[in-house]
Symmetry: D2
Subunit: 454 residues, 4 copies
Amino acid sequence: MVDLNKIIDYFKHSNIPQNMLNRGKLVLDNFLNPIKILLEQKALPKDAWSDQQIQFFLDVLSQMDTDKDDNASQVGEREARIASNLHIDISGGFCHGVGRSGFLTAPQPKAPGGSIMYEITNYIARDTMRKFGLPNIKAAIISPVATGMSLALALSAFKPQWGKGDPLKKRKVLLPRLDHNSILKSIDFLGLEPKIIEGKLFDDAVRIPIEDIKESLDDECFAIVSFTSFFPPRETDDVKAISKLAREKNLVHIIINAYGVQSPEWMSLIRSAIDAGRVDAIIQSTDKNFLTPVGGALIASPSEDKIEQISQTYAGRASASPVVNFLISMLSMGVNGYNELIEEQKSNHKLLEELLTDFADKIDERVMNIFNPVATAMTLKNIKKKQLYQLGGALYNLRVTGPRVYNPDEKSFGTCIDNYPTPYIVMNAAIGASSTDIKTAVSRLEKAYNQVVH
Amino acid sequence: MVDLNKIIDYFKHSNIPQNMLNRGKLVLDNFLNPIKILLEQKALPKDAWSDQQIQFFLDVLSQMDTDKDDNASQVGEREARIASNLHIDISGGFCHGVGRSGFLTAPQPKAPGGSIMYEITNYIARDTMRKFGLPNIKAAIISPVATGMSLALALSAFKPQWGKGDPLKKRKVLLPRLDHNSILKSIDFLGLEPKIIEGKLFDDAVRIPIEDIKESLDDECFAIVSFTSFFPPRETDDVKAISKLAREKNLVHIIINAYGVQSPEWMSLIRSAIDAGRVDAIIQSTDKNFLTPVGGALIASPSEDKIEQISQTYAGRASASPVVNFLISMLSMGVNGYNELIEEQKSNHKLLEELLTDFADKIDERVMNIFNPVATAMTLKNIKKKQLYQLGGALYNLRVTGPRVYNPDEKSFGTCIDNYPTPYIVMNAAIGASSTDIKTAVSRLEKAYNQVVH
Amino acid sequence: MVDLNKIIDYFKHSNIPQNMLNRGKLVLDNFLNPIKILLEQKALPKDAWSDQQIQFFLDVLSQMDTDKDDNASQVGEREARIASNLHIDISGGFCHGVGRSGFLTAPQPKAPGGSIMYEITNYIARDTMRKFGLPNIKAAIISPVATGMSLALALSAFKPQWGKGDPLKKRKVLLPRLDHNSILKSIDFLGLEPKIIEGKLFDDAVRIPIEDIKESLDDECFAIVSFTSFFPPRETDDVKAISKLAREKNLVHIIINAYGVQSPEWMSLIRSAIDAGRVDAIIQSTDKNFLTPVGGALIASPSEDKIEQISQTYAGRASASPVVNFLISMLSMGVNGYNELIEEQKSNHKLLEELLTDFADKIDERVMNIFNPVATAMTLKNIKKKQLYQLGGALYNLRVTGPRVYNPDEKSFGTCIDNYPTPYIVMNAAIGASSTDIKTAVSRLEKAYNQVVH
Amino acid sequence: MVDLNKIIDYFKHSNIPQNMLNRGKLVLDNFLNPIKILLEQKALPKDAWSDQQIQFFLDVLSQMDTDKDDNASQVGEREARIASNLHIDISGGFCHGVGRSGFLTAPQPKAPGGSIMYEITNYIARDTMRKFGLPNIKAAIISPVATGMSLALALSAFKPQWGKGDPLKKRKVLLPRLDHNSILKSIDFLGLEPKIIEGKLFDDAVRIPIEDIKESLDDECFAIVSFTSFFPPRETDDVKAISKLAREKNLVHIIINAYGVQSPEWMSLIRSAIDAGRVDAIIQSTDKNFLTPVGGALIASPSEDKIEQISQTYAGRASASPVVNFLISMLSMGVNGYNELIEEQKSNHKLLEELLTDFADKIDERVMNIFNPVATAMTLKNIKKKQLYQLGGALYNLRVTGPRVYNPDEKSFGTCIDNYPTPYIVMNAAIGASSTDIKTAVSRLEKAYNQVVH
């Protein structure tokens, strides 16, 4: 095999002078060195990699899989044969996917390169969580399914073993009310039952008091799912108190930290929760936090065993694409790049609050008093119900994507409480958004508002 | 927007003569016409597309999604922002993934192009099943998870609604013994219980008689899972009889047709099963049948409603990659290309049987009498147990991937029966394999055998 | 052929609501509209295109060439057959190259798309020159060879027709001394003879006085080549005066404006030269001005006929790559992008002068008084000759690329004068360089200087 | 720098068993080993490389160039800065191009990787010529311009040095009549004069007798250009006799072997010519012989000095694309692949002759008696002049590209003789054409003929 360190040695006696060759080696070294460091440290790189470096790394690894071996005789029914070379792009070259029948992180004999890729990616996942707020994490895995299905994975892994003669009583999951279909579906998916604890109003904010949770708890519950990032008016759960309760009552405790990694404040709450009580798994979206295409989740845990249990729950193999996506994102940002994005998010959120406050003043509304490091809500109490609907349409036409104009009279699902007192609009200054997004969105909101009202 | 039909009109008064321009239009038309036909017919194309055509089509569709709109103000938490352009490759450009929270085939407002892509793909999936053996299919979906998890999806969609006061009795799934972890895991994943009916020996073959299945049926069973393609000595289930039973006893019936689309014989059995009784869903692997990277499954059904139910079971969004992979594969083969592969598979399987028969004669073994259009088994009764193990290793070293050398004394899991009488080796002539694969595999088997025995 | 305007019509009766489809059309329109505008206006776009847009445009055009026609019977000896798909990348899809035997801009019957591509590119070339300083340009062409060979093309096109009985006297080209091999080689290439007029010292600057040029002129000269951008101490020629002389004396006059498009000052000089007298062609490097890979030149002229003459001089066909490179660059920048780069260049040059002045002060040297909008020179009179050489090496080791450390005692070639009085160093703040390049270069120069001197 | 040999060592203590890791190394080795062999042997590989291998090799080399060094301070005016990443594709990553000012093969200090790439490519060029018929070649270069301009390069390199007092007499080039514009233009390009020796008829063939050439020779001639591959009725020159004459008379002798490498017969003639007399350079098209996009030529010579002289003639730098194209083609074919193509060409030419003979019989025409291993001509004496023209149009409409329908009454240019007696059609079975091309072309010719005649 060619040793790239020695590539210039083959040109010692060529027309090319040695000092030029040395320079070539130096530049190539600059390109390849980050790969070496990654292999040594198995950690999130400090600096961003270029797309060329990432592609090179993926190429080298995927060229270790047996489907690339043109000297092999392939007589299995699954040999990662592909109909088109375009598949190489879509899979990052990892045509065998990840996992063996029923064990996600098991190495695949036909895919040594893919197995290395997945292992490295999971190390990076763990390191990312540690470096961005959760030093008390022990293991992490990139799940090849998104947040909702990953919650199903975790609940399935930790559900009681209902055997013969089992009364099947423990089938309920405590759920501080969170109006998101994916969560409800993931519980339903497993044939479990949610036990929902209603939200209560605290000034503008909707919270689920820990006392109410405690009261709801009965013998049929085996787990509780808590939440950090969600849309106003629903605020973050008191994950520390829930964590203590979980330890005390021997409940499985899963935190849905959907897009919370971007916020050191949310991460700090989770860190305390881990230290104070029981947290089995924390699930976060790869696309919302790490700027990948939709499709994966990062599941982290303070316990290695828990991650292995989840890994062993998955039935069969899975697409490598969501895993590769996470790997690409993290290598393309590095610690420094992600830190910069976090700083930009903070500053954009501040900008969003300021601009919305200014606009609210103009139209006699107000920015609402709800803790959320990403989203901001503004009341819309002075316009007619019909206009609320029109406002949504006007924003759509002005190409503002993502705002939520809400009329609680029409639909309570989404407010996490019945009878929320005021209509409102929510906007996000999420990681990856630009300050231009924020500025044009608020200015278009003003335009849309004026269109609708006048 | 530019009308590609009119592109040459802009050069009417150029130096380029009209007849050259017309030729240019003709050649471009040749390139683009298949796209038009696909959009009109929403069916599997007759002829293969080139990679350039496929890429062009994916590009056009993915350029309809709002993440590509540089005039948009994006203030949602999920806007398909990406950290690297490499993600475009991995996702085929469909960064929003597929599905909305809890409904796979629901159109996504931020992804009109992705929604079109998924709809077209599912039409192609249905058409593929119809054209390759199952004209009685009504709907199909490309599931973004592989066979095992897709079985979980289907079982979850069709499981009884266990409500309050429900005795939770119907939790069992009849399973003609099939020694594959993914299947068992997918049942376990949902907290269900398999009720396994043991295999029986018929000459060399292991079958599960319909009478035994009938006997096993009790009130706790709500479903039965049957199988077509598997490894010898396990033979295909009598899916027609099981289908009748399912109708009679009101059982959910799911057929796992893992790599069965490649064989008209297996497809014909399923067709009869659908006509004769009840089949809720047929699940097939996209990688094993359609030469995609691992990660998706094609779920088909004689009922549109059933597919919609499954589609509504999935919790949250999913990666578009497995869907795009299927689309790429089918466009790159077309009806004709897939037919050619089927013919090649048949001929390769015949070749495998002949070569193994020849070799068996030489070493006083025999090719076993087990129905399987893809795999062939040969006895290995004359070599020592220790040598069986060595034979596997020798094949590995000779780069033969996929053969299974089996010693039933050591492990019965895999034979689908206890006390299978003879050791054996299984090889596959699966779709996409070349005749060279077959020839070198058997010749290396001979070499390995001689190494081990002498 | 598919009309992309109508793509959503095929989904009218689908599950996808009309307003989503409309949004999809809107976003796609946003993507495709620049192509329409380019085809209509045949001018440099105002705004930058994305790489995806550029690639899409190249794909559509190259799919018009007959090598893409799989219904064709190809029985020529040149049919743009390719051994590998990688060639598509390298040629931008234009495998037929550009030109017909001996006429660069002649349309190619087998390459209607390639012919359109070249025509559009040449329009953009003309428009670029007009918008960035030379409104008096009538035609331009992207020559598939770089500056040196393009000068040979122009000289060959305009050389006298030496027929039978011709005394062959007019074989000389007046050349205000410019110490650049490519220029001398291009004259030699044609078997012509340079008549070099020596440089004279004006303070720090080397200029060739118009009087000296006039004196040199004799009957054997048929052309003069003048220069704008070059390295200090050589200054820009008085192109306006030379232009007048050329008109008066009926001399072919070619201006080498190697990297001068980036500077409005140089362009303004050329504009005056065109207005004031005779300029046959102005030649500029595509890589140095427009950030392409090396290999092409933009030849512009105030006369359409002259460009056609040059176009008809080229013997045979040529690679399309240099043409495609220019097209890519200009589309990826647009008027606005190129204007920004010009502003950045100006500001970087100012920065370079400031930083070098500061450093010169410290070491008792001075920035030299030589007009050049890109390059700056600093004296190096206080260090030993041997150290001058070491300084070059030290800069190389510190990875400063591009600076020229000059010792006129050792070699006069490069100073454009004999006996230039002082050693010096030249650095460039060229278009595309970053302010970081400038800052680190000067700081590393200081480091290198200290290494060498102490 | 990472040593790819050791990549698996980083996973010794991972979950991945050592035997899997070893397999990964083995497969990767399989992928990388051809690179090692190429670097060691600097010769045309025996077996074809995959596109992935070629791309990997180009990536590694181009990552040695200083434009890739993000730690460099770049203060030159030419630093291979690029406006778009698409340029990486178009240049193969070699943005510095090839050559230094006036010396094509000189190594470039800023492009060590590009310099290695060019050196390797030229070794492969030499080896290709040696292995496919010319073992007596000493050096070769891939010229970055096509055949016509490459002839200009060679003529320029070998033209007399017209100095002061030189009578400029030796300005003529002997040219056995060859009606191809590129050739005439390349002579004109340099201000030289062709001395054309007329063709004579030998049965159907047009040849230029060596006696006529000898007679034409006078003191003004310094060179002779001879030809192998051309279109019937012009036959190959007697290059051996011309070679002897060149030695005897001290003439520069350049052989235009435009698309002759594909034919062992033509190569054998050249081999004899080299052995028997004087051949300065042999020029062949890269696209016509080696299936690259248009734009390069392979110039070979029995003398290393001659190649160096040509290399030093080129004025300035050049695009690397034509060089990379040749490299890609040869690696993607290897010795074996090119041999297969040669065999296929032979068989296709035989097929073409047979099919044309059959058709000629039907319409009372005949295949003409003209030596040409690629092209075949058939008389068209029985149809009217007007119909000849219509036949060409009909073939164009039937998408037959490349045939030449010739009416010598209308235009003698192309026949290489005045008053050629009969109209004819020429078709080529050139390298890279498929037997389908041949069959459909003749069958469409029949169709077109019938359309026109009836």
